[in-house]
Subunit: 140 residues, 2 copies
Amino acid sequence: MDVPRAIAKYRAGGQKITPQRLAVMRVLEGDRSHPAAAAVVERVRREFPFVSPATVYRVLEELVAMEEIVPLDFGNGPMRFDTNTAEHAHLVCEVCGRVDDVEWRLAADALPEPLRQGYALKGARVFFSGCCPDCRGRSG
Amino acid sequence: MDVPRAIAKYRAGGQKITPQRLAVMRVLEGDRSHPAAAAVVERVRREFPFVSPATVYRVLEELVAMEEIVPLDFGNGPMRFDTNTAEHAHLVCEVCGRVDDVEWRLAADALPEPLRQGYALKGARVFFSGCCPDCRGRSG
DNA sequence: GACGGCATTAGACTAAGTATCAGTTAATAA
DNA sequence: TTATTAACTGATACTTAGTCTAATGCCGTC
């Protein structure tokens, strides 16, 4: 997530730079916690108490479309958003829900057979699940 | 998904073998299409027209708990269920939503660093996304 | 065949997200 | 600086997917 670059993309598309859009972008800037939409709404409200959830959802959708953020669904709650658009995997703690980034790249030569049999591969998502150090410490 | 084994697990847990539970199990038996809960409801209704969605959701939950099926969330719609409990990856067509199984096992020596730094790894999920041969044929 | 208790049903409820539209505002130009 | 206008926002109703609850039903055992 790069605010100036996102602004440039908005302008390039003939779209306006509104205070709400700026607020969402600033909330996401540098955030590595993979926030859910509701968390973004909450934080935008510190600046704009009456912002509508619909607006935040719309802006998130726009940022996804311009590839400034990546939507993530871990299958255990609402959609979350990743501000790191580089290829990497995720480490999800099953206890507290915390998500960490992991340096990880699928080796091209390890791609399975069907991918070479007519299926056009676009991407891969890798989730590791387990228990984070904090939760291990707490529960034994 | 193995119906006799699931029945044995129900009995072992002091739970009853009801016609609805049998119907859900038979619907899932041998199904490789990774159906959504709604699809299971629909098919169970061919036999029990008045079955409640709550019942089907509950039975699916039970089967997940006894590890006879695996819940899958591809992030583009409702939760789906996999009757193949062996380790494998999934190939998701972004166009038609079709899901294929892929023989795939993460090489243990390829595990990223953080997993050896206090994170207790339990499992990994790998999704490949792309365009299936049928959809490539249709859209060029 | 009767009984006890687990299971089922219907329907209200919740969470997360989407659609619509009247009113507002950012960006451009005069 | 003001006028113009297309784009944007907020309120609200709606949708989808799934959960909860209370009353009723029925499986399994005796």
